[in-house]
Symmetry: C2
Subunit: 516 residues, 2 copies
């Protein structure tokens, strides 16, 4: 290959150049060694060109597509899976906003600074503070945008773990589809539809340092990275990577945290792999904080993936029930602590923990939710129902006396309006526990969010690993960007992050000067 | 530039290709944007060629150079600073070995598995276990190699924090110079001398995926990366990066852990920057675990850098004295815990902590050390001397009664042979505290070791970020490699790591088939 290169283009050949020849011809380029997947060069001619290429159709990618289109840019919206939405569409359905109208209605005092403090505390102060500030400052505006621009409906405020107060708008739809679907509808009106089964195989970075387009594989069959038909798309203005995290990529997870290999289940959809991140690093993006990988504390070993469990464990039991260690019958953590604190506590108890509520608690925690959740969860074998506390204790080998004492202590706190044992936030709605039947979900943390990713600045521009300066023509948003959430992300802050930075990237990308 | 490229070399140009032209001509290539430092292409002709290029002259680089030379390879040994030795030459002078002859002499039971367990525990199980095993298995062989091959002299065993037993060979020289100097002497005998002020400006990776050489800047003036004269050196067999960590690079530190910016002092020499790591990432190395950055717990705010303090704080007070919180007069951590545990504890106490010993403890902890340490430390204002416990307490605002009680409790433990309060390892040599004068060093943690770096396999080969396979022609060893120590490195394991993997890389690099 080295001889060939000399003959063809003299002294200045590189491996990017060599491989570029293959890419330009629209053909997959077979590598001799197999141990090397080199960056791609600019094609001589492009198969297609648009202003802005957006890779990924979760909250961030769709928000970027809406803003870029609105600003007059032509957009190619790429999605490698058969259906759009990524992790967003299957996520829990809550978005943080500090100082919102709903909080005002309920008399809840909150501020931008309080949200910043909560995010930094959960993140163990590893968060890039300038990014946190933007999310917090724009949080109310972002929720308002979903209402005004997309017609999104909310059913009230939720209190997510690690937040000082209830501040998370809960989607009426009960999951992220409540935003993704209106986003897709909006884009359809604007004439933009996701191109599914379209893999971003390579980012194309020019000798002048600018990212100028991508090589895609159309008709890609996940996860075969060699499947599909290669095609080059030129981005006159910019590429926006909204490609998500690597929660469902055991091999990359294990590299960054050897404890989190393939034995561990994940809440993530099958597309949440490190491939786009690997490509980004290969063209000079800066990887930050990749070994901080979050386990969701509210998942069940009795189902695969995200499942139904979080609706009950977080939505019901964390506010209106209790989490107990079955070995002791005692609570073991503040059920509204941040995710890392709770997941670590469950793991420390050998995963022998349950979340439970009584019948009253179930009703309160489920208000406004789709009414068939209970049945679905029971059918799936995830939610277990017991006619009495005694039977619940017997079924899970919980010492009954200790369990009763735990409930008595908590109930006394309900009267006093204070959780003396764990310091959990007690709203006026919380009632005493005691009305049969009792509901239980067993607890077992699963990989949920990868905090690390490409370094970005406040404009969502990717940062070059050598120069530390922005890479012209490349934005990274959502879970693909690193540094936003530090060591551990607070629940409902991904929505705010993805929508806020997605919009910022879409607006900024549309305003970039075209390179031809 | 894009037009120029089309004219010159047709469709296959890349930014690497463009920049290669400059590099090949031996001239620095000015970039238009300033925001971009692109990888370099292969020069048409090389200014020099050798079998193996070794970058860095700490323990790892020198060990690699010795082995590669011994195996018959010609070696270019590069050092960007004015003098060789990097952080190694100023380091604390202890090397871990599990199951050693010195341990046998002292009747200390130890095993490879115990060392592995200690390293994994300190690393919070984030260590890549296959790398840990190699270090532990080869630890005795490695120390023996320094004795047999280099004539290194040791003064006895030290008990380093986080190790289950005393197992660290302490250099008679009292610092890493006790190994670096014999390494340099050995290399001189073999005809290899470090080329100082020679910056590895770029790694050169060919289109075929192989690393084939470097661009250096001769007569480099640290830290001006544009200084010096560019020159290309071809590596017929391989390049070994032994370039150290980024402990003295506040901007890269801050990116990976925003708490650790420029406000914080470091024990590292000025050359410990991220520049080589950035270059490695830019040619497709895989960055792992970069946000785990270790603070040394045994440093003093009364001097800059590593200084004298650790000799006393670790060498004397951790085994023969006590560390106390001046606010309470009480101990606050097991003085022999791992570094992270102790640094976190000092920070949690607002840095208001001291390490102290009595006169007897000082003598015991200093046995075999250069005798002028005491005077030097006192002159530097780091070691403070008090004629009585009362005067020591008064000078540091320590509640005297609490301090006396702390000492009484500890002294009772000396009789019992057990530290009931903190569970510290008690050797037979530990005596009761009470003989004036008393010596004090104030405590303030400093950035000491960066655990993250390039992913490597058991052969010390660098791992490609896209393919996950080894990069032919590139080895990474020592602190530049990531994953070895997980969340936090145990003291005296860097010596074992650097020497063991340095030797492995040197042997393997010499055995690589030449590419021309």
């Amino acid at each position: 290959m080295s001889e060939q290169s000399k003959n063809k283009i003299g002294k200045a050949v590189t491996r990017r150049a060599m491989l570029g020849a293959g890419a330009a011809a629209g053909a997959a380029f077979a590598l001799g060694s197999g141990a090397e997947a080199a960056p791609q060069a600019m094609p001589e001619s492009w198969d297609e060109e648009v202003d802005v290429i957006i890779v990924g159709t979760g909250f961030a990618g769709l928000a970027a597509a809406i803003e870029a289109t609105k600003a007059g840019a032509s957009v190619a919206l790429l999605e490698k899976m058969r259906t759009p939405g990524g992790n967003s569409i299957i996520s829990g359905g809550v978005i943080a906003a500090a100082g919102s109208p709903l909080q005002a209605e309920e008399g809840i005092e909150d501020s931008v600074q309080t949200l910043i403090d909560d995010m930094m505390k959960a993140g163990l102060n590893l968060n890039h503070p300038e990014l946190v500030r933007i999310i917090a400052e724009k949080s109310v505006e972002t929720v308002q945008w979903t209402i005004d621009e997309l017609g999104v409906e909310y059913r009230g405020l939720a209190h997510m773990g690690g937040h000082a107060v209830p501040r998370s708008y809960a989607l009426a739809a009960g999951s992220g589809s409540g935003i993704v679907v209106p986003q897709l509808d909006k884009l359809k009106e604007m004439g933009v539809e996701p191109r599914t089964r379209t893999l971003m195989k390579h980012l194309l970075r020019d000798p002048d340092g600018r990212v100028k387009g991508v090589i895609v594989h159309e008709k890609y069959r996940h996860p075969d990275l060699d499947s599909g038909t290669p095609k080059s798309i030129k981005a006159r203005k910019a590429v926006i990577m909204a490609t998500g995290g690597f929660g469902n990529d055991p091999s990359f997870r294990k590299l960054q945290d050897p404890r989190l290999g393939g034995e561990l289940d994940t809440t993530n959809h099958p597309g949440a792999t490190a491939q786009p991140l690997r490509e980004a690093m290969n063209i000079g993006c800066t990887l930050v904080q990749p070994s901080w990988i979050q386990l969701g504390p509210w998942t069940s070993p009795d189902e695969r993936g995200f499942g139904y469990a979080p609706h009950f464990v977080q939505g019901v039991a964390a506010s209106y029930g209790l989490w107990v260690d079955t070995q002791t019958g005692k609570r073991f953590v503040n059920e509204l602590a941040d995710r890392k604190t709770r997941a670590d506590a469950i793991l420390a108890a050998g995963n022998k923990c349950i979340a439970f509520s009584d019948a009253d608690g179930y009703v309160k925690g489920s208000t406004g939710r789709p009414t068939d959740n209970l049945d679905k969860m029971k059918e799936a074998g995830v939610l277990l129902e017991y006619p009495s506390l005694e039977e619940m204790a017997a079924a899970h080998n919980i010492p009954l006396d200790a369990l009763k004492e735990t409930i008595e202590t908590f109930n006394a706190g309900v009267d006093a309006g204070e959780d003396s044992e764990m310091g959990r936030y007690m709203s006026d709605k919380v009632g005493k526990i005691g009305t049969a039947p009792f509901y239980v979900v067993r607890l077992s943390p699963k990989v949920h969010h990868t905090m690390g990713g490409c370094a970005i600045n406040e404009k969502a521009e990717a940062i070059d690993v050598v120069s530390g300066e922005p890479i012209v023509g490349l934005y990274v948003v959502g879970e693909a960007a690193g540094g936003v959430h530090g060591a551990s992300r607070l629940g409902s802050c991904a929505y705010a992050d993805c929508l806020t930075f997605g919009r910022i990237a879409g607006q900024n990308a549309a305003a970039v000067e075209s390179w031809s």
